[in-house]
């Protein structure tokens, strides 16, 4: 591709690139652990989850089992009828009596018809149940991801979330698509054949059943080894996905900085880890399945020998031996299928464990059990921080004992150097995180006691990260208030000064933001985000660097609009450009998580503190 010198790929190099992370367990959900008791706990949880998923389908499952029994009985009848045909029908036929043969043929036809109907019915039903379970699980996991707090997502990361909801669910889907029928059928047919064998010839059957201890021992070995192996594949595939998604998302940087060769190396390495993990898992089944075969074949040889011996001694009939040998084939054949299924089950269980781990996470910012309604009526939106302490890590508090009261309707600007904790204050007010001590209140109600839906109606945070969802521009603005009509959407865009550029797009408000021609510049995206916030019409609006990508005239338009928007609501504004700050009623200067200056901007500018210095610098930077 490129001829550049690439740093040689050494093993150490390929592990160092990721760097050291704050949380070594970031790769797993809290519930996932390698300790044996944790693994056992998780297995138990995934079993509970599975039971829970299957519960609504109990009746359908019952019907499915009935159909299977029907199919199995019909399928089992085949060899028995063959035996009857050979032992009982040929002699009468020789005597010119076709009755028994016709009866056998009739029975066979009936069995075949039953088998067809039952098989078709069962397969259809099991596909329905399987897909319904998948749908349920997919939606549960997705909804749970939405519920989990920002702190969880910061740790768990998007790539891993994608991996859980795609690759892991795929491998459960494989189980659903592949062979639940096989397994039930196999178990049924093994049991029923065992019964028939016992009934046909007890000593011969006893010899056959000697195979079981070996089968069980082999299966236990496989269960233990493959659970580990499949778990590793789930973890390694997540890394592949994480790296893939990240490098595709950052493709501009990748290309501009000629990162491709190095990325290829890294991708090759994570892909290779996944390949090895999968290969190991496949090798286990490659050992297990022929192992079953060995046991089966040895048993056939033994039965042949012993059975032949018994026929020789006149202890049993030739027909019985023939039927026995036919049944034995049907006895061990399903075991092959069973081993395949067992393998898929192990793989799906590994995935299910990961999903159970996610579902087990409790949101650290939890929905209150008994929500307190916010007071209604005019003049609402009084915000207070009471003795608030918070840090992303317990050992490194960012905010210590913050006390702050913002009366309803006041516009407060937060100023301070990078890392002073401005954004953290914003996130606490938006309840992305809960304080580790103290409380944040809105109109006297602790945010922790407010129902999420109500809180989000009341408080909206706009940051510099302006995410647009797939869909049209109008839909993205409507994100702020889903029930808003087109006129309201346009009014919001107009109010913020976004209408002109939107109207100039190829399809105006109906332009798909992800489609050709829908590419918006960073500034335009910020305008859409503003329109969204305006439409949401919250009591408290938090703006965290929300105008940083705007050019001066557009920012001016937004400022102008803010004059109206902020007039009747409480606002917390974080901005490096003091033009925004100057319009505030009150300025707070934050340093290391503490308020060091507090007052109206004009007064602070005059008193010669930190704000005054910043203000002077800013004035000099203006045209």
């Amino acid at each position: 591709m490129t001829g550049d010198a690439v740093r040689p790929a050494s093993g150490a190099d390929l592990t160092q690139w990721r760097g050291v992370a704050t949380d070594p367990d970031a790769d797993r959900s809290r519930a996932e652990d390698t300790a044996p008791e944790a693994v056992a706990r998780l297995r138990a949880r995934s079993r509970v989850l599975l039971r829970d998923l299957l519960r609504p389908h109990r009746r359908r499952l019952g019907l499915a089992v009935a159909l299977l029994l029907g199919q199995n009985a019909a399928a089992m009848a085949g060899p028995y009828l063959v035996m009857l045909g050979i032992d009982r029908a040929i002699a009468p036929l020789r005597a010119g009596e076709p009755g028994p043969l016709l009866a056998v043929a009739g029975g066979f036809a009936a069995a075949t018809a039953v088998e067809y109907v039952a098989r078709r019915g069962f397969l259809t039903l099991s596909a329905r149940i399987g897909q319904a379970v998948l749908l349920d699980l997919r939606q549960r996991v997705y909804a749970h991801f939405l519920r989990l707090s920002v702190a969880f997502h910061e740790r768990y990361t998007s790539g891993r979330m994608i991996s859980r909801l795609t690759s892991d669910l795929d491998s459960i889907g494989e189980l659903v698509g592949g062979g639940v029928e096989g397994v039930v059928l196999a178990v049924l047919s093994i049991l029923s054949i065992a019964g028939i064998l016992l009934w046909l010839d007890l000593p011969l059957a006893a010899v056959t059943l000697l195979a079981f201890p070996f089968l069980i021992w082999l299966s236990r070995w496989f269960a233990r080894a493959s659970a580990d192996a499949w778990r590793r594949t789930r973890e390694t595939v997540a890394l592949v996905i994480v790296h893939f998604v990240e490098s595709m998302r950052g493709i501009r940087a990748v290309q501009a900085f000629r990162r491709e060769p190095r990325n290829q190396e890294i991708f090759g390495a994570v892909s290779d880890d996944y390949r090895r993990a999968s290969r190991d898992a496949f090798r286990l089944i490659a050992t297990y399945s022929p192992g079953i075969k060995v046991i089966g074949n040895v048993t056939v040889a033994v039965v042949l020998c012993y059975g032949g011996w018994r026929v020789l001694g006149g202890a049993t009939g030739v027909g019985v031996l023939a039927a026995f040998l036919l049944y034995l084939r049907r006895f061990f054949e399903p075991m092959q299928e069973l081993s395949q299924f067992y393998n898929s089950l192990q793989s799906a269980t590994a995935a299910l464990e990961k999903l159970a781990g996610v579902l087990d996470e409790r949101p650290s910012v939890a929905e209150p059990a008994r929500p307190v309604p916010l007071p209604t009526g005019p003049g609402r939106g009084a915000v207070a921080f009471r003795e608030v302490t918070f840090g992303y890590r317990p050992d490194a508090p960012i905010i210590v004992g913050l006390d702050l009261a913002v009366p309803a309707g006041q516009t407060v600007a937060l100023v301070g150097a990078t890392g002073a904790g401005k954004s953290t204050v914003a996130k606490l007010l938006a309840r992305f995180h809960d304080p580790s001590a103290g409380a944040v209140t809105l109109d006297g109600v602790d945010l922790r006691a407010v129902a999420d839906a109500e809180l989000r109606r009341a408080v909206v945070l706009v940051t510099q990260e302006t995410h647009l969802f797939g869909g049209t521009v109008a839909e993205n603005i409507r994100f702020g208030r889903p029930d808003a009509d087109d006129a309201a959407v346009q009014a919001a865009a107009r109010a913020i000064g976004a209408h002109d550029f939107i109207a100039a797009l190829p399809e105006g408000y109906d332009t798909e933001v992800r489609r050709r021609g829908g590419r918006l510049s960073a500034g335009q995206r910020q305008l859409v985000a503003f329109a969204r916030a305006f439409l949401a019409d919250p009591t408290v609006l938090i703006l965290d660097e929300a105008t940083s990508s705007l050019d001066v005239p557009t920012e001016r338009l937004v400022q102008h609009a803010l004059g109206t928007i902020l007039a009747d609501r409480t606002a917390l504004v974080i901005a490096h450009r003091l033009s925004t700050v100057e319009t505030a009623d009150r300025v707070l200067v934050l340093d290391a998580g503490r308020i060091v200056e507090d007052g109206p901007p004009a007064r602070l500018a005059a008193t010669g503190g930190r704000y005054a210095a910043l203000h002077r610098q800013w004035r000099e930077s203006l045209l």
Binding site: R119, A286, S423
Partner: protein, 605 residues
């Protein structure tokens, strides 16, 4: 919001071509394993042969030693059966063991090739394709392909051979009955063909829907904070429900199709068996067949049940593989639009003077009619710094992206020291250009790795200098210094910190050209001033194009170009333009438009 087809502009079903064409085109991945595959097939056949022989031995036992009261013969034959049984299992073991590694190797090889190709595809391609759709191609689709290569294809051949072998054996036993069995292939073929056609469409739909789900999940993950901020979880869950439901419906339809077909496929050998039983019993009664032969015939015929039963599954697997191959090939078939010209030049840093010239450059995003840039003429002299100024959406960022050829000009040309950029090797060009985007992209890697993205050979001193220039010395104070992982999966940095790291990355290694898109927007006034002072020293000797929003940053530039709706309407010194071009003054000036009296809260400066 319509999720269907989001970000996937390719036609969903390839019309008119043979459905297996794309699968066939992937055969070269099999080639390195061709010999292996041959041996595997041989082992598989031998195993099947051994398996086939066991019922024949059973017949011998029944007809021979048992009939003749010959215990020694009985043990000999049973011993043979045991031996064959062990050989069969051993062969299966060898086949699967080898297959486990070769199929995974093939999958990994395709995955790495798709990844390499995606990295070559230009930004324009990635603008249109959500990574969710791409992701489902390198994960779900590839595992479908792997399953086909390791099982479906193998069993297709094996079962076909088994079928033929069994029929041949049956013919030896009893030609008339055997023909009856062979004739059952006709309905099997008809059923399979009908099924294959319908299943093809369903599996393509399913794979596309899987891509849609992946896309929505990815989007949710990216927009999580926005979702949280507005409490729009229920709405997103509803949207997800639509996609998940569509996937469910297709899954059920596929299941129903498969159920009907496999039941039918099962019916055929069963009916044949019944007919054979009746006719065979009649023949045995007539003395044309020994009972032992009839037992062997029936048990051989039972061996056909699995190959026939599995036919439905194999066809399903094959069809899924075919559509997966279509989807993978869609990506691989997209030609990288921006590639090296033959005999492209690779100028060295030392030989580059750095005169960059836009000659009647126009640009339009693929698939759109309105150009974003029109007839741009601009020359940046070596060592000069030109700032681009213009309203939001005027095309500034697009113009910058043309310099490292992230997008290709659609009209005119850009030259570096007189050479058309398209005559330069991409890697050489991008090595000469240092870029910082409006959104600082940091990957989940160590700070060091993030800084040295394109310059793995950079030394500690160079990195230190770049960090110092960007006022990003905080990087040394991180918990593990430059080894600290940042980005999404690491320590979260503030917007200003990210931007400073991105700036350090751009200036690292003293590139000949600097292309900076609003590089100081997230910095506070104090830091901004420090960075400006440091940057000024670098810009004295480096050719640079900057996108600038604030008057303060314009001080970095020697000249300014005003961009209005994709055209350069004025070029000159800041003070000249300020004095002579009202539009320029309007774009930069913080002076408000006249305010209606009584309205509060506007800036006056």
């Amino acid at each position: 919001m319509p999720a269907e087809g989001d970000g996937n502009p390719a036609p969903r079903v390839g019309a008119g071509r043979h459905p297996l064409r794309n699968l066939w085109r992937l055969r070269h991945y099999l080639r390195p394993h061709a010999a292996e595959f041959g041996w595997l097939l041989l082992a598989g056949l031998a195993a099947t042969g051994a398996g086939l022989t066991i019922p024949l031995l059973a017949q011998r036992v029944v007809d021979g030693p048992v009939a003749r009261q010959d215990p020694a013969g009985l043990f000999r034959l049973a011993g043979l059966a045991l031996l064959l049984g062990l050989v069969e299992a051993l062969l299966i073991f060898i086949r699967r063991w080898v297959q486990a590694s070769s199929s995974m190797r093939i999958e990994a090889a395709i995955r790495e090739d798709v990844y390499a190709h995606l990295q070559r595809l230009p930004a324009g391609f990635h603008d249109r394709w959500q990574s969710g759709q791409l992701l489902s191609r390198v994960t779900s689709d590839l595992s479908v392909l792997r399953r086909f290569l390791s099982f479906g294809l193998f069993f297709l051949i094996l079962n076909l051979v088994t079928y033929l072998a069994v029929v041949a054996l049956l013919i030896r036993l009893h030609p008339a009955l055997a023909l009856l069995v062979a004739g059952s292939a006709v309905p099997l073929f008809l059923i399979s063909r009908h099924f294959a056609r319908r299943y093809h469409a369903a599996s393509r739909r399913m794979q596309d829907q899987q891509g849609d789900v992946a896309t929505l999940v990815e989007e949710t993950a990216q927009g999580l904070r926005t979702m949280k901020a507005y409490g729009r979880g229920p709405e997103l869950a509803a949207r997800f429900a639509v996609d998940a439901r569509a996937l469910h419906d297709t899954g059920v339809a596929k299941g129903r199709l498969l159920a009907r077909t496999s039941a039918l496929l099962d019916l055929v050998p069963n009916l044949t068996l019944g007919v054979v039983l009746v006719a065979g019993a009649a023949a045995a009664a007539g003395g044309a067949l020994t009972i032992g032969e009839l037992v062997a015939f029936v048990s051989l015929q039972l061996m056909l049940i699995w190959p026939v039963q599995s036919l439905g599954w194999i066809i399903a697997n094959g069809q899924e593989a075919a559509t997966a191959a279509d989807r993978v090939q869609e990506v691989l078939d997209t030609p990288p639009a921006i590639v090296d010209a033959p005999h492209a030049l690779a100028p060295r840093r030392a030989d580059v003077r750095g005169r960059i010239r836009f000659e009647r450059v126009s640009f339009r995003y693929p698939g759109t009619s309105a150009p974003v840039l029109r007839e741009i003429d601009l020359t940046v002299e070596p060592g000069e710094t030109v700032a681009l100024v213009g309203a939001t959406g005027s095309g500034k960022s697009t113009l910058l992206s043309l310099v490292p050829r992230l997008h290709e000009v659609t009209g005119g040309r850009i030259t570096l020291d007189g050479h058309d950029l398209r005559e330069l090797r991409l890697s050489a060009l991008r090595r000469l250009v240092g870029v910082a985007f409006e959104e600082p992209t940091l990957f989940s890697m160590s700070v060091w790795e993030n800084l040295t993205l394109g310059r793995p050979e950079a030394g500690a001193d160079e990195v230190r200098a770049a960090l110092a220039l960007a006022q990003a010395d905080f990087a040394y104070e991180l918990p593990w210094g430059l080894a600290t992982r940042v980005g999404e999966q690491g320590l979260s940095l503030s917007g200003g910190q990210r931007q400073r790291l991105a700036l350090a990355r751009a200036v690292l290694g003293r590139p000949a050209l600097l292309v900076l898109d609003d590089p100081l927007s997230a910095l506070d006034v104090h830091t901004e001033a420090l960075v400006e002072t440091a940057l000024k020293r670098v810009l004295r000797t480096t050719t640079a194009l900057l996108v600038v929003h604030r008057p303060s940053t314009i001080a970095l530039a020697d000249r300014v170009a005003l961009l209005e709706e994709g055209r350069i309407t004025a070029v000159g010194r800041h003070s000249e333009l300020l004095a002579g071009v009202p539009a320029y003054r309007a774009v930069l000036s913080a002076e408000p438009t006249p305010t209606p009296p009584g309205e509060r809260g506007l800036v006056r400066s």
